[in-house]
């Protein structure tokens, strides 16, 4: 079975070139990357609001655009629902008229039925005669969704659907949006620069950077196997570090870093086998570093994998977790400015271990928590 969504686009602008290709198998594809990476440009091309210089756009086998074949379906005929950043609700129309805006071709009774159905399903009942300015942020989002979904689109495009909202509301609406997308089952593309959002909403995440796709993968795969150091950095992963390869086999990589000998899991599927002595990038998730309790066992390299020793030089309270910056007991400059590793511990652990007073720790990292980044 071919992919439901096939996108290949080249668009040259005076100071920017978009050159991307990706596919998705239905569900939700999240276009993730920094601002100005070309994500919104991609959406506008997919909706037909902007004409690419080359490439194609195919939705469920239906060609919306194909430069080589001279095919360009106008936006009016694409049946693509677009939820704009800031929603772009028509301020001079009521909720019902906004939702029904795309149904003009249908006979009045059918139109009214569809509007009522959409309003009901999105929990907007009772707000039919309100104007957009009289709605809350969450209600506006649902009206924008309803307006786009009312036309029964073959594809739904959402541009930063949560960026117009306050932080507390954003989390609620992210879950609500995920529910709506799942329930309606429409293939969707969501643009976001927030990785949590991309991960929560997307079944597949397409990582954009500088007008190119640097990785496209199912979300779990992306989380644990970023394709490169630059992808890891775009994702905002802490503790992206550089070491030297000692020995690489298909399922293990031994490396040296800051005077330590570390063992990491290699991915057999990736078969990444750098030669000994080669530089290697890897990352360690801060929440997977284990501090060793001093009251229990004596730290022992035979029991504790990748054992290290260091001092907490800085700690920050993030409400439910503490972030510790640890400097290893090794000569030479630390890997990340004033410290080597960022470690995240829950509040409870911070209190039980009395980290506020006790700053010197031994800690270990399971080999499965050291992720190698292919060059």
């Amino acid at each position: 079975m071919s992919a439901r969504l096939e996108v290949r686009l080249v668009k040259r602008l005076p100071d920017f070139t978009l050159d991307v290709a990706w596919t998705a198998d239905g569900g939700v594809a999240a276009l993730f990357g920094p601002s100005g990476a070309g994500k919104t440009l991609t959406l506008q091309c997919m909706a037909g609001l902007l004409r690419p210089d080359a490439g194609y756009i195919v939705v469920d086998g239906r060609v919306l655009f194909d430069a080589a074949a001279g095919m360009d379906v106008p936006p009016q005929a694409r049946r693509v629902g677009y939820v704009f950043q800031g929603y772009a609700l028509f301020p001079h129309l009521t909720v019902a008229d906004n939702v029904g805006f795309g149904l003009r071709g249908r006979p009045q009774p059918a139109r009214a039925r569809r509007v009522a159905e959409v309003i009901e399903r999105l929990g907007l009942a009772g707000l039919e005669r309100r104007y957009p300015r009289e709605l809350s942020g969450g209600q506006r989002q649902r009206v924008a969704l309803g307006r786009a979904l009312a036309i029964d689109p073959a594809l739904l495009l959402l541009d930063e659907p949560l960026s117009a909202l306050d932080a507390p509301l954003r989390q609620t609406l992210r879950n609500e949006l995920r529910g709506v997308l799942g329930e309606w089952g429409t293939a969707a593309v969501v643009v976001t620069h927030d990785f949590t959002e991309a991960y929560r909403l997307g079944d597949r995440i397409v990582v954009y950077d500088g007008g190119r796709v640097v990785q496209s993968a199912p979300r779990a795969e992306l989380l644990w196997q970023p394709a490169s150091e630059s992808v890891a950095r775009i994702m905002g992963i802490p503790n992206v570090l550089h070491g030297t390869v000692v020995k690489a086999t298909p399922d293990r990589i031994q490396l040296r870093w800051r005077g330590q000998s570390l063992e990491a899991v290699n991915s057999p599927t990736r078969s990444y086998l750098p030669p000994p002595g080669a530089p290697i990038a890897f990352f360690i998730r801060p929440e997977y570093v284990r501090l060793i309790r001093k009251d229990r066992v004596v730290a022992d390299p035979r029991h504790h994998m990748n054992l290290m020793r260091g001092e907490v030089v800085l700690d920050e309270d993030f409400g439910t977790t503490w972030t510790l910056r640890i400097r290893l007991d090794e000569p030479g400059p630390p890997a990340q400015g004033a410290w080597d590793l960022e470690v995240e511990v829950p509040h409870l652990v911070y209190e039980i271990l009395d980290i506020e007073r006790d700053r010197r720790w031994e800690f270990s990292i399971h080999r499965g928590s050291i992720h190698v980044l292919p060059a």
């Binding site: 936006p75 009016q76 028509f90 301020p91």
Partner: protein
């Protein structure tokens, strides 16, 4: 009020109303196109429309004679074909007032159209609307107050037009002498009272127009 004063007043109102209508028909599409489209000659069109705002009205009037006069570029063929010329008729007053008022409407309306969020238009496109339908259903309704304010200003300008009207339509009492021209004549011939009545009327009208335009502008913002 004398018959001449009265005729000046009715003529002025008729000219201003027709010039405003002509402005609506020509100016609103022009403002839309200037705001929303990039095309060759756009800067030139913009310049030509705006020029009457800064040129001395007599200069604009001179160009209108060159264009529409009995020996003008357009006027000569018309005269040759029909034996009629627009010059020194009250239609000429309408043309002069239209041209003089046009920049006020176009500039105000264009600013209002410019301020309409383009995403709204794009949304309308994805929801099946052609550009034409989008303009009618989304852009122009949302720019309505700005456009109305522009029309009010255009009306005021048309009502007060003097120089270009004098050049193209002349100052023929009862036929082309609008209120501003009648005021001039009245002052020249020492009819103080007639002048005073007309001056007071125009001043009052202008005040009303400014207040209305201001209210509309405030609501548009």
């Amino acid at each position: 009020m004398t018959a001449e004063t009265l005729s000046a007043l009715t003529l002025s109102l008729r000219v201003a109303v027709l010039a405003t209508l002509a402005n609506a028909v020509v100016g609103i599409p022009l403002a839309y196109v200037l705001a929303r489209h990039r095309f060759r000659g756009r800067a030139l069109v913009d310049l030509l429309v705006t020029l009457p705002l800064v040129l001395p009205p007599t200069v604009t009037g001179y160009y209108l004679i060159v264009l529409l006069g009995r020996r003008g570029w357009l006027g000569a063929p018309l005269y040759a074909a029909t034996g009629w010329s627009i010059a020194f008729t009250w239609y000429a007053a309408v043309v002069a007032a239209t041209i003089m008022a046009l920049p006020l409407l176009v500039r105000t309306a264009r600013a209002a159209i410019d301020s309409v969020d383009r995403d709204l238009e794009k949304a309308a496109h994805t929801l099946g609307r052609s550009e034409w339908r989008t303009a009618l259903e989304v852009t122009l309704p949302l720019a309505r107050n700005g456009i109305l304010a522009g029309l009010v200003l255009a009306f005021a300008r048309a009502l007060g037009e003097f120089g270009a009207t004098l050049m193209l339509a002349g100052n023929i009492p009862g036929r082309t002498a609008t209120v501003p021209l009648a005021i001039y004549t009245a002052v020249q011939t020492g009819e103080e009272q007639a002048a005073l009545i007309l001056v007071a009327l125009l001043t009052a009208l202008s005040c009303v127009v400014l207040v209305v335009a201001d209210r509309l502008g405030a609501r548009a913002a």
